[in-house]
Amino acid sequence: MTAVQVTGLSKEFVLRHNRAMGIKTKFLSLFHQSKRERRERFLALDDVSFRVAQGEALGLLGHNGSGKSTLLQIIAGILQPSAGTVTVNGRVAPLIQLGVGFNPELTGLENIFLNASLYGFLNREIKPMLEAIIDFSELSQFIDTPLKNYSSGMQMRLGFSVAVHLQPDILLADEILAVGDQDFQKKCHDRIAQMRADGMTLILVSHSPEQVERFCDQYIRLDHGRVVESGRMQPAPSPTALLG
């Protein structure tokens, strides 16, 4: 079964130089050439196609600005494609940033509910998972203190823990596999491998070919919005092998 099918996908952004954000500037631009808005079209993704089968893991490689994150945002439904289609089968959890919507004034516990509801979960669906989420994050001691007292590593741990406990069918991860210290990182990697073994599809954006090699069985390299290279890892890593 296909989890994600991307066909002929293009995304064009309009860069608006001197964009008139206010009425004054809009008015001035009627008389001053220099204040006029210049529009420049910028092709962030150019005719990208690929297919990820259910349970597979795809690595997206490329330099800064090559279109990796834009591609992820389109698959997540955050941005609309300019041309082409994206078909997604299953529940997608974008992990573009850990702990989206976290509010520093609220406690860790309150933030768990807030964060999960952004993924479309009801509070009563989260309650049975609370213990597992808090245990995994290793933050039970601090869970009812405001998030502003957490270190950034602790916040990421909580965000990661919520995300992985929501049991997504497809996980879209943007450079998030460096959470916390060494021990916690290992725990995260094991957890992702476990979820992969259970049939989760993974799309991983990364700078690092080693990381992609470790987690993914196929990869795509993007450059200036085009697919310049793609292939399968040889030999494909078996997800269970990573558990050891």
């Binding site: 439904g77 955050i78 974008p94 309150e110």
Partner: protein
């Protein structure tokens, strides 16, 4: 269309706890550390009512019986409009970082902003509930229609909040203009005065203001202990439908590319 909109309502319903959690978060953050906490949402309308009562009974004379009741009804309902619209304006621009990182129905952002204002307002309306019999309010069967009138009013406001939140993304001056507009609109709505004391052509102008029509409904039900006229109700329904239609159309047209402009 039918099946399509049922599906999208179902999709929004799935996210109902998001609205709830956002509202709770806003309330917690707003009243954190304030000793009186939630009660502060009473402070502002109470101060306003005292001020206007002073102005309208001692500076400009009003002949309305039970004048304070008349005034409280107007001020409270106008406040709901003013605060919702002013807050709703930058609800989308304020949620930019959220919207860029995860997909959820965008319409829930301005809706949660309205819900937040509504919750605070429901506390403020306690003033009216407590003082109602003391100030000369009459309990009559027409009062059961009040929730219906309130739902219409909220829908009308929701339509405006949707429109303004979307327009604010493109025209960042909007909020400043809206705040001035809200100040002016107060005096162009019969809140502190009776519309019938005005000259006929001024009366006509004031009655073009949709809020005047809503105030007439609220004053009829809560102040005069009568039912609003049929004409009055029809105008109110028409304004509500127009506002919701414009709001939803604008939102639909812009929502797809909203994130790129935030």
């Amino acid at each position: 269309m039918g099946a399509n909109s049922t599906a999208s309502v179902g999709r929004y319903w799935r996210y109902r706890d998001l609205v709830r959690n956002l509202v709770i978060a806003n309330i917690k953050v707003r009243y954190q550390g304030a000793a009186l906490g939630f009660l502060w949402s009473l402070g502002n309308p109470l101060a306003m009512i005292l001020l206007y009562d002073f102005v309208f009974t001692h500076v400009f004379r009003s002949n309305l019986p039970n004048y304070i009741l008349y005034l409280i009804i107007g001020v409270l309902h106008y406040n709901l409009f003013a605060q919702s619209v002013s807050q709703g304006c930058d609800s989308l621009t304020g949620a930019a970082s959220l919207a860029q990182k995860i997909y959820f129905p965008r319409i829930l952002i301005p809706t949660a902003s309205l819900a937040f204002t509504l919750v605070l307002w429901l506390v403020a309306i306690l003033i009216l509930v407590v003082l109602y019999p003391i100030l000369g309010g009459v309990y009559h069967w027409g009062l059961v229609l009040y929730p219906l009138a309130l739902v219409l009013y909220l829908s009308f406001i929701w339509g405006i909040v949707l429109s303004f939140s979307v327009l604010q993304v493109e025209y960042r001056d909007l909020k400043h203009l809206v705040e001035i507009g809200i100040m002016f609109l107060f005096w162009f709505t019969p809140i502190g005065y009776d519309i019938h004391v005005l000259k006929p052509h001024t009366q006509f102008l004031i009655s073009l203001n949709p809020l005047t029509q809503f105030m007439d409904v609220f004053h009829a039900l809560l102040y005069s202990a009568t039912l609003p006229t049929v004409k009055n109700v029809l105008i109110v329904v028409a304004w509500t439908l127009a506002s919701v239609a414009v709001g939803m159309l604008l939102f639909r047209a812009k929502a797809r590319h909203l994130v790129e402009d935030l």
